[in-house]
Subunit: 369 residues, 2 copies
């Protein structure tokens, strides 16, 4: 990438998260106009809102009235309905679309992007190859389909809080060109939004997806009115399963990554608020199905936790590993109504997971200068 | 210790936590009467409650009506007012007294205990040598004063939840005789209370004390009504300061210990409920002093967080390390009313802490069998 020319940014998508991201990168493109092209084209899936086109509303009222109402977008964010037009000159493509649309978006973009464009995905959740019984990372899919570098951005799932500029932190995972690190930091960081970078990109992405399963368990516990000790135990046992899952199937994660925001902080936030927790709390209290609750509480949008739990269950089952992941498995079975949520605690009582010793029995000794 | 004779247990103290512990070990002494002497003598600091002696109330009504009302203690728990009588034949002494009484209790017991007696401390908080500017672990003080083995038991600070038998977990740290591990597990574990053991005893104890400082920061954030992203960021930054503090002053902790209950789980529970959080939330909302709030909300009992923050501040100041621990320092200064709590977030914005790389750049590789 030639950095003397201003770097062009394109958020792909127009949901609430996309709009929150457009708000941040739009402001940063203005603020750092020595690095970025000020004009930020945002791909908006065209639809009619109160008889008007959504692109037109965004470009005149500077507000995504449907998905992020009452938040003004910067005027330099321009909504574009045609995907290829929005993306073809872009240097950094920010993927925020739901994961089920990724393959379709990439197919349309294939061969039509700048060669050294960089994609950054904040999509949580995995693609599933049901035949193979494996999950596939969204970043892997984008990389293979578009043949470009892919970074991931993970943070807790509360779009409104980000738009409200409450202090929070996030993690970017990117193994590629190191010269892009300060640029990515400049693009996403703000006074209230702190970003750390790590090369351990797969771990960052996997934490972002797997934590939603744990958030479901936290929601079930809230449904029963259990106290904070029980919730804390669930979060801890969930984190252990996350770490063991990543080690088992992806190898060589860096233990430090779990201490980044994408690890414990996002896990805690998702188990305290966020949609997965909320829907699963209602699941226990109302005994309705997840699908019914999504219709009633989220206008039919889906929560990622149950879908991710299913994908992970398929993979664990295929590899004969179900017994190693009691929490992940019980969440899936409760969501499918195969088990009563009252069995959650019974499962936790039997969790024997500890972080295993590593091969050389290292006691991590940190260098403090 | 000769294990053919039944092992005698003595809880030392009669507050709410002592009583919750007496409840657990009393039951387990009955349940495992092949290991333990069924009769559990509990040292009770004698006082009059409604004109009756507290020991008499406990021994007739089997309830600590003052500090843990409405919870029946097992009948095999016998309250004893004389400290030496309660302790001299004991094999395992459970210290639950407030940390300021430890030295006095030990002085009375010195030379009057069985030689191979084991002390187990669940006291959170540190002793301070103001002249030296250092903190001293309670376990170290007991070990030095009594010249016996000392283990520590740490768990989240919600006595009522434990007495209510909500599912929760705890960690015992003990470096000494390995044959005592299964005995300690039998003594404290129950259906709803899971216990793991580790040799990394100092880290377990330090986590138990330091987390209360972080819980104060969480309370300040709650006082301002900040959301879960901010709280999660505080917990993460607090955990990093805990780890760096322990590495800096105690060296060679095992990174796995932070994934035990004493690490992340107790930290999360204390930042979600517990006294420190509650008092500090009220501190922001009412602008009263910590002492006033303790009188009003806790019958004059003290919260550990502000005292621990002061002890740590003295130590950091002495070692010229204040700038490395922005969260610990800001909590102390807010509690002392030297800084406005509104500066908490400003401090967090400037936190640059990351877990430093260790000397040999190890990527922790776990063995999954």
């Amino acid at each position: 990438m030639e950095h003397k020319a201003p770097i062009k940014i394109t958020p792909i998508g127009s949901g609430n998260w996309d709009s929150a991201i457009a708000l941040i990168v739009g402001r940063n493109a203005q603020k750092h106009d020595d690095h970025f092209a000020v004009e930020v084209l945002m791909w908006v899936h065209e639809e009619k809102v109160n008889g008007k086109r959504l692109t037109e509303i965004i470009n005149t009222q500077h507000e995504n009235v449907k998905y992020l109402p009452d938040k003004k977008l910067p005027v330099n964010v321009i909504a574009v309905a045609d995907l290829v037009t929005a993306c073809r000159d872009s240097d950094i493509l920010v993927f925020v679309t739901p994961h089920q649309f990724v393959e379709n978006v990439c197919t349309q973009l294939k061969g039509r992007l700048k060669k050294d464009a960089l994609a950054i995905s904040r999509i949580k959740g995995f693609l599933v190859d049901k035949k193979e019984g494996t999950i596939r990372l969204v970043s892997e899919a984008i990389r293979e389909l578009l043949n470009i570098d892919v970074a991931v951005l993970m943070r807790a799932n509360v779009a409104q809080d980000v738009a409200n500029e409450e202090f929070s932190t996030a993690t970017i995972g990117y193994k590629g060109r190191k010269e892009m690190w300060p640029i990515l930091k400049k693009l996403f960081e703000s006074e209230s939004f702190r970003v750390n970078l790590t090369e351990d990109s797969n771990t960052v992405e996997l934490c972002g997806g797997l934590k939603n399963i744990v958030a479901c368990a936290a929601g079930f516990a809230d449904g029963f009115g259990y106290g904070s000790n029980t919730k804390a135990a669930i979060i801890r046992l969930g984190l252990l399963e996350i770490i063991i899952f990543i080690e088992l199937f992806y190898h060589c994660s860096n233990i430090r990554t779990y201490f980044e925001s994408c690890g414990i902080a996002d896990l805690i936030a998702s188990c305290t608020s966020g949609r997965n927790r909320k829907i699963c709390e209602a699941f226990v209290k109302t005994r309705k199905s997840i699908e019914e609750l999504e219709r009633e509480m989220l206008n039919g949008q889906s929560v990622q936790g149950p879908i991710t739990a299913e994908a992970v269950f398929i993979m664990l089952n295929k590899h004969d590993m179900l017994s190693r992941f009691p929490l992940f498995v019980v969440v899936h079975k409760i969501c499918q109504k195969e088990l009563s949520p009252s069995l959650l605690i019974e499962c936790l009582r039997q969790c024997k997971n500890k972080l295993p010793n590593n091969q050389v029995g290292i006691q991590l000794s940190l260098v403090i200068n």
